[in-house]
Symmetry: C2
Subunit: 137 residues, 2 copies
DNA sequence: GTAACTGCAAAATATTTGCATCCTT
DNA sequence: AAGGATGCAAATATTTTGCAGTTAC
């Protein structure tokens, strides 16, 4: 889907900044940090707008935060199912230790686990570290 | 194991700060952030030492970083197997959305997943959000 | 026209670095 | 005694907030 439609569908007003940032996500195969975005935006673009836009996108279910082992926050596009209210985050995030990118493996679903008595599961995410298919050639 | 022994076993010199910080981890059931530690340390304790100590502990395999969905970094004690060189991080991290604590479910191991062709797995972690047994009463 | 979004300035917070001093071994 | 660890000061980086001007609808 195009950025324009995605933004409108989320009930947000269509602005230049939002289009720019969303286009970056659409054209990036890997998860991105705030820092990455900032670097990909036009020279001199305001940092604060990036913060606010990412926050808005997360709230509206356009992007989601990817769990990481270190202290960085990564964001990635949500797939179709996400936008419609509830957030299906049940896929696997893959961190390549060779090229340092983080990707969502949409095709791999998080397996169910049996939790100890008394624990109630709401959402599960998985982070796998390893070598990605591109680096493995 | 006592903090003294753990520190020595890791080949680190035994200092007051390290003992204090490690004791906090030993007596805490949940994962802790840098901020948490700072609050639990004696009034006026130097922030920088906390940074450096946490870093050292991670390097030496005494504690490990817990993956989180937001941008916080949490640390938790490594169990026995961790200290002996290679790091077994293959357990499930449970975030309770009610009491906001993060615990390691040592007894639950991360299930194996089948990755797409070309991907090579090194390490897998899992983050589950839900309600913990304490809150579920 | 109005509400929402942006940019700038600045505050607040978090993290890193350098260096002199102190402590562990 | 020697090397590493700490504390302090300060530099750097990150994130948040307020407000005035601008833009989308």
């Amino acid at each position: 889907m195009q950025s324009d439609q995605l933004i409108k569908k989320a009930g947000l007003s269509l602005t230049e900044s939002r289009k720019l940032i969303l286009d970056i996500f659409i054209s990036s195969p890997a998860a991105l940090s705030h820092h990455d975005i900032e670097n990909l935006m036009p020279e001199g673009f305001d940092r604060v707008t990036v913060y606010r836009t990412l926050q808005t996108f997360v709230q509206k279910g356009i992007i989601h935060q990817v769990p990481t082992t270190d202290n960085t926050t990564l964001y990635a596009l949500c797939k179709e199912e996400c936008q419609s209210g509830h957030h299906h985050d049940n896929h696997v995030h893959f961190i390549c230790t060779s090229c340092q990118t983080t990707n969502c493996l949409e095709e791999v679903t998080v397996p169910l686990v049996r939790l100890p008595k008394g624990f109630e599961l709401k959402k599960a995410a998985m982070v796998i570290e390893g070598i990605c298919d591109t680096c493995n050639n």
